[in-house]
C-alpha cells in the first residue's frame, strides 16, 4: 500500500458514511484499492475508487434521509402534541417571538434603506462631490462653491468625464391651467446629471430636454397630479406665475433613498433667473451640489490634489484660503461631509433590533427550561427506552422549529400590515413585499433559524442531560424556580427594558425642553408668510393695511425666520478689527420694526433710523455674541463695512436670542436693512380671535396677490420642523421600547404562570393553615421584585452613559437627574408586578380545596 487512494473521493466517503461504519467502509475500499493498484497500476485503481465513491454517494444519502424523515415526522408529531397540550405557553412564545422578529425585520428594512442610500444609481462608486474645505477648520467641509466652478472644471480638466450641478429649488408656486399649488421638491440641474445618475425616463430623453432652458422635466407622480392620465410632454407649466416651461420629459419617481431627489427639474440657468444670481460670479458661494465622474485611470485623490488650488485663483487674497477636493457620493448619507450622517442612528437601531430579539430569545429559553420539570418524566421515559441525547435534542429543536416557523410567518404578516404606520412614524417610504425583497426575507428566515438555534441551545442541553433515574422521581426539581441561570436571564431582559425606557423618557423630556425653551423672542405669537414679488414691491402699503387691525401688534420683514437666522457673511470689516479675527458674522436682513415685532430687546442704542429702501447699508445692529466675537470692546458708534459698500456705523446692540436650532449655540449676528434679501413677512398677532385675524390677513393678501394661494404659518410649527428627524427617531424608539417591554412582560407572565402552577399545592396548604391572600401574593411576588430591582441597578449606569452621549448633540439640554432613573425604574417595576401579580392574585384567591384536590 505505497499509494494512497484519491483524497477528495476518500473525504467524500468519510463525510457521507455513518459514524459507526465509517472506519470499516473506508478500510474495505482501501483494501480493494490496494489490490487493484498492485494488479493494474495506481492510476486505474484511483479511477475505480472515484467511481465507487460517486456511485456510493446516492445510496448512502438515500438511506440516511429515509431514517431522518421517519424520525423527523415522529418529532413533528410529538411537537404538535406538546404545543397543543401547553397552549398558553405556545401562544406566549409565539407572540413574543413574532413581535420580536417583526420589529427586527422592520428595523432591518429601515437600516437597509439607510445603508443602501443611492444604491439605485449604477455608477455610485464613480460619483464624486466637488467640495470646498479649509485646512484649519476640518468641520467646514461641504458643498459651497461659486456657480461657474463646475462648468470651468469640466472645460479645463480632461480628467473629468461628466460634470453637473444640482440645487434644491425651494418652494415654488406651480401652476398648470387653473391648478395651482406650492411644490417644495424640485431642483435646478445641468443636463449631464442624467449621465451621472440613473434616473429612468418614461417619456422622451431628459438629457436633451434639459439643454433647452425653457424646458421642465417632471416625475411621474407630479405629472399625474397636474395632468392626470394625459400625456404631459409638450404641455406647459408656469412657475412663480411668471416663468413658462414646456414639459420635455417624464421620469420615473426618484426612490426615497437617493441623495438627489426631486419631483421636477429645471435647467440650472433658471436658478440665476429665479433668484437674481449671476451665474458667472466667482465671488459668491452657492450651496449647490457639484457632481463629477472621472475618466478611467484617473485616481480621485490625485485629481483632488490637482484641483486643490482652483478656488484660490478666483478668490479675494485677503480671505482665509479655501481649497477644493473630491468627496465620494458613496456613504454620504451615513457619514455626511463632516461625520454628521445617520451612522449613529443606524447603529442605534441595529442595537435596538438585536436587543428586542434577545429579549424574545430569553423568553423562549426561560419558558422552555421552566417546563422541563413538567417534561422530566417524559424525557426520562424516552431515555429509558433508548433515546440518546442527540435524539432528545433533535426533538426539542423540532418543537422550537414549529414555533419559530409559525412566528416567522406571523412576523411577515405583521410587518406587511403595519408598514404604512411605521413609514409614517419614521418618515420613510419603504415598500415591502416578501416577493420583492427575497434577500431580506432570507435574512429574516436566517434570523429566525438563528433565534431558534440560540434559544434552543440551553433547553436542549439542559433537558437532554437529565438523568432518567432522577427525572422519573416525582420530586425531581431540575429547572425549578431556584435556577440562577433563568433568574439572570430575567434580569438581563428587564435591564434592557429599563435602559430603553430611560432612553425614551430622556428623549421626550429633551424634546419637550426644546419645544418649551424660551428662545428670547415672542415665538408663541409670531406668524409668517412667504413674500412674493408682488408683496415685496408693495410691502409698505400692505404693512399699513395690516396694522390697521388692532389684533396685529406688529408687521416686519426678514431674510430668514428668527429661530434659524443663519447666513454666514464674509468680507466684513469693522473699526479696530484685530488681524486674527476673521471678518465674518451671521447676516440677517430685516426692516426697522423687526425688533419690536419679534420681541428682541435692545441693550444699547435703538433700531434703524432711516426707512431707506436704497440699499445704503449704513446702519448696523449687532447681538451680544457678535460684540464678543468682534473683539473691539464696545462696538457702539464704530464704523462697520460690508463688502465693497461705503462704511456705516454700529447703531445698536440687541440681546442674544436663539437664532440657531438648539443643537448649536447662539451665533454672533448683525442686522441690517437690505431689501433685496427680504423673504418673509412676519406678523405678531394677539392670540384671541385668531380665526378672524387670519381671515383679515387673507383679505389683505388676496387683494394684493390674487394669483398666489394664501398660506400663513405659525412660527412654532416651523421651529418644530427643525427637530423633526430627531422627533421621528424618538417616536420610533418609543415604539420599540413599548414592544420590548411588552415582550419582556409576556415572558414574565409565562414564568409567573408556570411558577404559580408549580406552587398550587403549597399555596393551598398555606391557605388552609391560615395565610391571608395578601400574604400569599407577597410571597409569590417577592422573587420578581428582587429581580426587577437588580435589573434596575444594572441598567442605570448603562442608560446614563448612552443618554449622556446622545445629549451631547444639543448645545442646550436637560440634566440627567436621579428622578428620571427612579421613575423609569418604578414604572418597569410596577408593570412587572402587575403582570406577575395578575396570576399570583388569582391563585391566592382560589379556593384551596381545588388546589389540594389536584394531582
Amino acid at each position: 500500500m505505497s499509494t494512497r487512494p484519491p483524497r477528495l473521493a476518500e473525504s467524500l466517503m468519510r463525510r457521507l458514511s455513518w459514524p459507526e461504519d465509517r472506519e470499516s467502509l473506508l478500510d474495505n475500499l482501501a483494501e480493494e484499492y490496494g489490490e487493484r493498484a498492485a494488479a493494474r497500476g495506481p492510476k486505474r485503481a484511483g479511477w475505480w475508487y472515484r467511481f465507487q465513491a460517486a456511485k456510493s454517494a446516492l445510496p448512502l444519502i438515500g438511506f440516511e434521509t429515509y431514517w431522518r424523515t421517519v424520525m423527523f415526522s415522529h418529532y413533528l408529531k410529538t411537537a404538535f402534541r406538546h404545543h397543543r397540550k401547553q397552549r398558553n405557553y405556545f401562544l406566549i412564545n409565539l407572540a413574543g417571538l413574532a413581535i420580536g422578529l417583526a420589529a427586527c425585520l422592520f428595523i432591518m428594512l429601515w437600516v437597509q434603506d439607510e445603508v443602501g442610500f443611492d444604491a439605485c444609481h449604477n455608477r455610485l462608486d464613480d460619483i464624486y462631490f466637488v467640495v470646498q474645505y479649509r485646512p484649519d477648520d476640518p468641520g467646514r467641509t461641504g458643498p459651497s462653491l461659486p456657480a461657474p466652478l463646475i462648468p470651468e472644471l469640466k472645460a479645463t480638466r480632461p480628467e473629468i468625464e461628466r460634470a453637473a450641478r444640482y440645487l434644491d429649488a425651494r418652494r415654488r408656486l406651480f401652476s398648470v391651467g387653473d391648478k395651482t399649488a406650492y411644490e417644495s421638491s424640485g431642483g435646478f440641474a445641468d443636463p449631464e446629471l442624467f449621465d451621472i445618475f440613473s434616473f429612468s425616463s418614461l417619456a422622451s430623453d431628459p438629457k436633451t430636454a434639459l439643454k433647452d432652458p425653457n424646458t421642465i422635466v417632471l416625475t411621474q407622480s407630479l405629472a399625474r397630479r397636474y395632468f392626470g392620465a394625459a400625456d404631459p410632454v409638450g404641455k406647459t407649466v408656469k412657475l412663480e406665475n411668471r416663468y413658462v416651461f414646456t414639459v420635455g420629459a417624464v421620469l420615473e419617481d426618484i426612490p426615497g433613498n437617493s441623495t438627489v431627489r426631486f419631483d421636477y427639474l429645471l435647467p440650472f440657468e433658471n436658478f440665476g433667473r429665479f433668484d437674481g444670481v449671476e451665474l458667472d460670479n466667482w465671488g459668491r458661494y452657492e450651496g449647490y451640489l457639484g457632481f463629477v465622474t472621472l475618466n478611467r485611470n484617473v485616481r480621485p485623490d490625485s485629481f483632488s490634489d490637482k484641483i486643490r488650488d482652483e478656488l484660490r485663483r478666483h478668490e479675494d487674497p485677503a480671505h482665509k484660503p479655501t481649497f477644493l477636493k473630491l468627496h465620494p457620493l458613496k456613504g454620504i448619507r451615513l457619514r455626511g461631509f463632516n461625520h454628521d450622517g445617520t451612522k449613529t442612528s443606524v447603529w442605534m437601531f441595529s442595537a435596538i433590533a438585536a436587543l428586542v430579539l434577545l429579549i424574545a430569545c430569553i423568553n423562549f429559553v426561560n419558558l422552555t427550561t421552566a417546563q422541563a420539570v413538567k417534561r422530566a418524566a417524559e424525557i426520562g421515559l424516552r431515555k429509558v427506552v433508548g433515546a440518546s441525547k442527540t435524539v432528545i435534542r433533535r426533538q426539542i429543536y423540532t418543537e422550537l422549529a414549529v414555533v419559530v416557523t409559525a412566528a416567522f410567518f406571523v412576523a411577515i404578516g405583521l410587518v406587511a400590515a403595519f408598514l404604512p404606520k411605521l413609514n409614517a412614524l419614521s418618515g420613510k417610504t419603504i415598500a415591502f413585499s416578501p416577493a420583492g425583497k427575497t434577500g431580506l426575507v432570507v435574512i429574516v428566515l436566517g434570523l429566525a433559524v438563528f433565534t431558534a438555534a440560540v434559544s434552543g441551545l440551553y433547553p436542549a442541553f439542559c433537558l437532554s442531560s437529565l438523568r432518567p433515574s432522577r427525572a422519573m422521581k416525582p420530586s425531581a426539581s431540575t429547572g425549578s424556580s431556584r435556577s440562577p441561570f433563568r433568574k439572570s436571564l430575567v434580569v438581563v431582559q428587564f435591564a434592557i427594558s429599563v435602559v430603553l425606557i430611560i432612553s425614551t423618557f430622556v428623549f421626550s423630556l429633551q424634546m419637550r425642553y426644546i419645544k418649551r425653551k424660551e428662545l428670547g423672542f415672542d415665538k408663541a405669537h409670531l406668524m409668517y408668510l412667504e413674500l412674493s414679488e408682488n408683496l415685496k414691491t408693495r410691502f409698505d402699503g400692505v404693512k399699513q393695511e395690516l396694522l390697521r387691525n388692532p389684533e396685529i401688534r406688529g408687521v416686519t420683514t426678514s431674510v430668514s425666520l428668527p429661530a434659524n437666522a443663519l447666513n454666514l457673511a464674509g468680507g466684513l470689516d469693522w473699526e479696530g478689527r484685530p488681524a486674527d479675527v476673521e471678518g465674518q458674522l451671521n447676516f440677517v436682513s430685516v426692516d426697522k420694526d423687526y425688533f419690536q415685532t419679534v420681541g428682541i430687546e435692545f441693550v444699547e442704542g435703538g433700531t434703524f433710523q432711516s426707512t431707506a429702501r436704497n440699499q445704503r447699508l449704513d446702519e448696523f445692529i449687532v447681538n451680544e455674541k457678535a460684540v464678543e466675537a468682534m473683539k473691539v470692546g464696545n462696538p457702539m458708534g464704530r464704523s462697520f463695512k460690508m463688502w465693497d459698500r461705503p462704511p456705516g456705523r454700529v447703531i445698536g446692540i440687541v440681546k442674544n436670542v436663539h437664532n440657531a436650532p438648539l443643537y448649536q449655540d447662539i451665533r454672533p449676528a448683525f442686522y441690517v436693512q437690505f431689501p433685496a434679501f427680504y423673504n418673509y413677512l412676519i406678523l405678531n398677532v394677539k392670540s384671541e380671535r385668531l380665526p378672524q385675524t387670519i381671515d383679515f390677513i387673507r383679505d389683505v393678501y388676496e387683494k394684493v396677490n390674487p394669483e398666489y394661494p394664501f398660506e400663513v404659518h405659525f412660527l412654532d410649527e416651523a421651529i418644530d420642523r427643525y427637530y423633526q428627524s430627531e422627533a421621528q427617531r424618538g417616536s420610533l424608539i418609543t415604539a420599540f421600547t413599548g414592544l420590548a417591554l411588552f415582550i419582556s412582560c409576556l415572558g414574565l407572565f409565562g414564568l409567573s404562570l408556570f411558577l404559580t402552577e408549580q406552587r398550587t399545592r403549597e399555596i393551598g396548604i398555606r391557605k388552609t393553615l391560615g395565610a391571608t391572600a395578601s400574604h400569599l401574593v407577597g410571597l409569590m411576588l417577592k422573587d420578581f421584585l428582587w429581580l426587577v430591582a437588580l435589573a434596575n441597578l444594572v441598567a442605570w449606569p448603562a442608560a446614563y452613559y448612552v443618554m449622556k452621549t446622545w445629549l451631547q448633540k444639543f448645545a442646550y439640554r436637560i440634566s440627567l437627574g436621579p428622578s428620571i432613573f427612579l421613575i423609569s425604574g418604578l414604572t418597569v417595576m410596577a408593570v412587572a408586578l402587575a403582570t406577575a401579580g395578575f396570576r399570583a392574585v388569582k391563585s391566592a384567591l382560589a379556593n384551596p380545596v381545588h388546589a389540594l384536590r389536584q394531582v
Binding site: W18, L25, N28, P59, L60
Partner: protein, 106 residues
C-alpha cells in the same frame, strides 16, 4: 420478509462462513448473482440487516497492513439463519410447480 438484495447479501455472508467483510462480501455477491454493488449500497444493506438484527459485527484480529487496526467481520445471527430458512421455504412454496417453461405458453 427479506428484500431480494438483503437475501443475496445474507446468503453471501453465510457462504463466506466467518470470512465475511466488505471486500469479500462484495466479491461473493458478484460471483453468486452477477450483481456489482457499490460499497455505498452494500453498507446500506448491511446497516439495514444489522438493524433488523439478522447479522452482527465482529472485530477481527489486529491486521499489520492496516496499522494494527481490526477488520469488521459480519456473522449471521440466529435470526439471520432463521430468516434464510424462511426465505427458501417461502421461495419454494411460491414457485411450487413452476419452471421457466411455465411462462413459455402464450
Amino acid at each position: 420478509m427479506l428484500s431480494k438484495a438483503e437475501e443475496i447479501v445474507l446468503l453471501a455472508i453465510w457462504r463466506l462462513d466467518g470470512d465475511a467483510y466488505g471486500v469479500t462480501i462484495r466479491r461473493q455477491v458478484k460471483k453468486d448473482s452477477g450483481k456489482v454493488y457499490t460499497y455505498g449500497t452494500l453498507y446500506g444493506l448491511l446497516r439495514q440487516l444489522a438493524s433488523k438484527e439478522l447479522i452482527e459485527k465482529r472485530l477481527g484480529p489486529p491486521t499489520p497492513e492496516k496499522g494494527g487496526r481490526r477488520k469488521t467481520y459480519f456473522d449471521l445471527t440466529r435470526n439471520g439463519i432463521a430468516s434464510l430458512k424462511e426465505a427458501i421455504t417461502e421461495h419454494r412454496r411460491v414457485w411450487k410447480d413452476l419452471g421457466e417453461w411455465s411462462f413459455d405458453k402464450t
